[in-house]
Symmetry: C2
Subunit: 133 residues, 2 copies
DNA sequence: TTATTATAGATAAATAAAATCCTTAATTAG
DNA sequence: CTAATTAAGGATTTTATTTATCTATAATAA
């Protein structure tokens, strides 16, 4: 069980956009170069963030991606869910009635993790840390 | 990102063994049947639990698997780590100096999840719940 | 109109998970 | 001692998922 590289790219891109000038769009070319990943692949990932309403895209010359208004509120969990989906991390495949005690425990644990990811915003990180890109 | 089915099988097998008579070994045949999984595959999973020292195996007629002495202390995390390994869920693949602020946050979150999984023992579950197999 | 930039569909390549097959080794009952 | 039973382990296959590429289309600004 691992977070996907796509999630890694998405988180780093969001951090970059949050730390960068908030009004000027940044092209996928540059974002991909920084992260040493192919632009087409990264663009597919960023399209998910667009669909989730976190960033917006501007086509054409001098286009790129830019944060949306609500960017101060975007949490780690928002980004992770946008990329990985929101399904739970564990499915009991054993048929013992309505609810599985094992599943319950694992889901409680998952909820602890999500709580932390929900409370951490990208903007916190930019405020707290000296971001090096 | 999902916990593997192997983890699901391992957790359910441990619950079964914990709920069952603690001295008499249970064959993989029966365990596999209950969970509707192939005996050979399950045996590979259980071998990992043996290597991790949670259960012991007895070959030969009337053999099978049985909990070891310390069974009261076996946590969810122990089992999960035995199957999935203990590597962290997130690797930053971007090269920004010694530590990545994103990685830090995700690892804190992971730690919250692990804490819960470390504090829940199989024996708790058997005590609390009316296990249905 | 041309260059630039994102979107999207199709597909390929790489990796990981799930499962099977077969052989070997250990043990116990008869 | 022998035959039956049971786990361990190596090799391989199947299936699923992730990662990545290629190509075409659409939008926009200079």
């Amino acid at each position: 069980m691992k977070f996907s590289k796509a999630t890694d790219y998405a988180l780093h891109t969001m951090l970059f956009l949050t730390a960068a000038t908030p009004d000027k769009p940044v092209g996928v070319q540059l974002l991909a170069e920084k992260q040493k990943v192919s632009p087409t692949y990264l663009s597919k990932i960023l399209t998910k963030l667009v669909k989730a309403g976190m960033i917006e895209s501007i086509t054409g010359v001098n286009g790129g991606y830019r944060l949306k208004r609500n960017w101060e509120d975007i949490s780690f969990l928002d980004i992770i869910h946008a990329i990985e989906g929101s399904a739970s991390l564990f499915d009991c495949s054993f048929d013992h009635g309505p609810d599985c005690p094992i599943q319950r425990v694992v889901l409680e644990a998952e909820e602890k993790m999500e709580e932390h990811l929900r409370n951490k915003k990208m903007s916190d990180l930019v405020r707290e840390t000296n971001i090096v890109f």
